[in-house]
Amino acid sequence: MKLHTLAAALAFGLCILSALSQANAAEDRSIRSFKVQVPQAALEELRRRIAETRWPDRETVDDQSQGIQLAKLKPLVEYWGTGYDWRKAEAKLNTLPQFMTTIDGVDIHFIHVRSKRPNALPLIMTHGWPGSVFELLKTVGPLTDPTAHGGRAEDAFDLVLPSMPGYGFSGKPTETGWGPDRIAQTWAELMKRLGYTSYVAQGGDWGSPVSSAMARQAPTGLLGIHINLPAVVPPEIAAVLAVGGSAPTGLTDKERAAFDALSAAAKMGNRSYATMMGTRPQTIGYAINDSPAGLAAWMLGHPGFSRWTYDNSDPEKSPDEVLDDITQYWLSDSATSAGRLYWEYGGRSVVFAAVERTLEIALPVAITVFPEETYLAPETWARRAYPNLIYFHEVDKGGHFAAWEQPELFSAELRAAFRPLRQDF
């Protein structure tokens, strides 16, 4: 390791270590407050690397079919190395109460915002890949302080936003086995440690299998979940998709549309990133941990970003929005460790009901379908997949990163979805 990298890593580690040093690591169940303070040297090193980016030639097509287009990536990376200011992102995190606690041997970073409202419903929300807690930050206000955002006082949540193991400022597992099931167990322990005896869980992307695993495990206190990337694809449809077959007869219009979307996504290769990380996360890790442009391109290769333009045409999808997320991956050296979650899952898709064992979920499940999601879950399939579906709603705006793209609408959905569970609370 180069000295400057080492120095940066050490200095960066210090902010965690200083919190850790107060307690005995072995039996430590303490919850330590945490602030993000990235050393200036790490930021300068990042800018230096960005300035020295060595580019390939342009793709040979005029569309996104060969991947992230050079003309789309280059301005973003150039802005990253000149105009972008990580300190603003850091400030966004540090205005919120952040903590660290060690569970199952891994340091878990989380944001914990308690509502000022009495009887707020505790909610643990899980981000995905290539996301992070950044994709959820804009929902903090609407969820914890609903009256300031068009909601009612009785819709308030206490919000817990953890970084998954291997992601962001959480620790990196040093052994295999950290799949969604184990993360789910960890989240249950986290909520218990926070003193919550009744709570709900939510997630999209990887947050969906994590939340679903929690619902399947049904830890004491968990009342139900809301997911925005549900696993509703029935086994017989999954089988057809696996071999690239044509649509079975007898599908409703919405089922047919979902089948076509999944089939087209497979044919267009939208999951190639998942296949790579599902089999060889370490191999791609060397490039994306060493090259800022490489990391940015790899993350933006997620189909959830395909409609993002990385300009200022949509304030919810600004260059700063994606760069906050990408920069956090860079500064926390978590490109490789985050990719391992795909490996843990064997590269399988998280939208197949059988893979997710949805029939084993007895707890209440709520689903919102956002129109620009990678596929639109039909209600018929959702009812088959989740025996206790308490809420199903199709909304008119938003995509894969629903909380990021449409925080107000997303929050309104959570209020509506969880309202029936508050009586049990």
Binding site: W55, D57, Q66, I284, G301
Partner: protein
């Protein structure tokens, strides 16, 4: 290229390339084309000498980047599991190229490794460039001193280059110095595929294996060869097989060390994810299992390049990223390469590996080469290993450590005019590079009977 359209002026091309290189990257390689001064009347089809040369600052810049490598943490699986070959590898054994191997590679690459030796070796060979179908194609062309030498065009693959073929040039062109007779002599033509090595990078889509195969026939005819053979492994095998399918009258036979032999009913069973059919013999069953495993767990890199090659920006910006990507081709060659960095060089040395990786780096071809997977996917009618209906004579090497070892039964079915079924005692995917002697033996044996014609 249409004869009606004016041939692009060579000087204009160079100027454009130079500008593009300067504009795209300070780290991009600058080739030294020392071809004779083009004139306005110069034919695009002219064959121009080419000299390999990279400025020292490119080498210095590479070393600087190597020294600044920013590492991920170690993989979470054991070394033993990571090194398993296809015979025992199971799902979940490997997470990819090991950190320890990469750190040894990077340490050596950034300090002791000397590119100038490779450059000198390349310079000792006759290199040429000629424009075919609008693209400058680089090739090495070594004529045998023996009369009646059989011309052969040998095509490299990914992640290979002309470097993987250098060890067989002398045995093939100068057989009497390598356990052969004058009657075993070949004239050898070794092109760099479009987007690879010193060939130009296509700027438009369409350069799939079929188009490359057509270009190779043009190249051989341009060199004055009207009766020749072709050879290849990896993409080279696919391109050579495409040449055989086109069967131009000048092409009398091919040899492949990655033969596509899988019969149609087995292709269907593999696609359905079925267990090996019960009636398979032991060699067939092993081949079936090898291919099934490779398709399921070993194709991530190929999949990514076939679907999103441009997204791999990190490979041209990070030497470590490029090296790991190139090392992770198949389990058996990876295990062999990893051992060479542990100090146990077998067929491939550390320098062999790094010569090839350095060539990819200096020519900035990681992504342009990856596009061949994308191109193939646009037009391919069959899988890599599926038998394709070749009717001209074919010689085969079925290497024991290849991605799959083609069973003799399937090989005989796939190639009705089978000249030779070689089964060397040793050899991985990079047969000519790792086992040049066995490779040469098989190539000689394959074409022996055609010499008298």
């Amino acid at each position: 290229m249409s004869t009606a359209s004016p041939a692009p002026n060579r000087r204009d091309f160079l100027a454009t390339s130079a500008t593009a290189l300067l504009a795209t990257s300070a780290g991009a390689a600058a080739f030294n084309f020392t071809s004779s001064q083009p004139t306005a009347a110069a034919e695009a089809s002219s064959i121009r000498p080419f000299t390999v040369s990279f400025p020292q600052e490119e080498i210095d810049e590479l070393r600087r980047r190597i020294a600044a490598t920013r590492w991920p943490e170690r993989e979470l699986v054991s070394e033993a599991a990571s090194r398993r070959t296809s015979a025992t590898l199971a799902a979940g054994d490997t997470q990819g190229v090991q950190l320890a191997t990469m750190q040894k590679l990077i340490q050596y690459w950034g300090t002791e490794y000397d590119w100038s030796k490779c450059e000198a070796q390349l310079k000792s060979l006759p290199h040429f460039v000629t424009e075919i179908d609008g693209l400058d194609i680089h090739f090495i062309h070594v004529k045998s001193s023996h009369q009646g030498a059989l011309p052969v065009i040998i095509t490299h693959g990914w992640p290979g280059s002309v470097i993987e073929l250098l060890k067989v040039i002398d045995p093939l062109t100068n057989p009497t110095a390598h356990d052969g007779t004058a009657a075993d002599a070949f004239d050898v033509v070794i092109p760099s595929m479009p987007g690879y090595g010193f060939s130009a990078k296509p700027t438009q889509p369409g350069w799939d294996p079929v188009r490359i195969a057509k270009a190779w026939t043009v190249l051989m005819k341009r060199l004055g060869y009207n009766r020749f053979v072709a050879q290849g492994g990896d993409w080279g095998a696919l391109i050579t097989e495409q040449m055989a399918l086109m069967a131009p009258p000048e092409l009398i036979a091919i040899h492949t060390n990655m033969p596509a032999t899988i019969p149609p009913e087995i292709v269907r069973a593999l696609a359905a994810g079925s267990p090996p059919p019960a009636d398979l013999g032991p060699d067939e069953k092993r081949a079936y299992e090898q291919v099934a495993f490779f398709y399921k767990f070993g194709l991530g890199y190929a999949n990514e390049m076939a679907l999103r090659p441009q997204t791999l920006y990190g490979l041209v910006d990070s030497p470590a990223g490029l090296a790991s990507w190139i090392l992770d081709h198949d389990a058996d060659s990876y295990a062999l390469i990893a051992r060479s960095f542990d100090g146990e060089p077998e067929g491939l040395t550390r320098d062999d590996i790094l010569d090839n990786i350095t060539l990819y780096w200096l020519t900035n071809t990681a992504i342009s080469s990856a596009r061949l997977y994308w191109e193939h996917r646009q037009t391919a009618k069959a899988g890599f290993f599926d038998a394709k209906g070749i009717t001209i004579p074919v010689g085969v090497s079925a290497n024991p450590s290849e991605i799959y070892t083609a069973p003799k039964s399937w090989t005989e079915r796939a190639f009705p005019k089978l000249l030779h079924y070689g089964h060397p005692p040793k050899g991985c995917h990079f047969a000519a590079w790792e086992q040049p002697k066995y490779f040469t033996d098989d190539v000689r044996a394959s074409f022996k009977t055609l010499r008298t014609a």
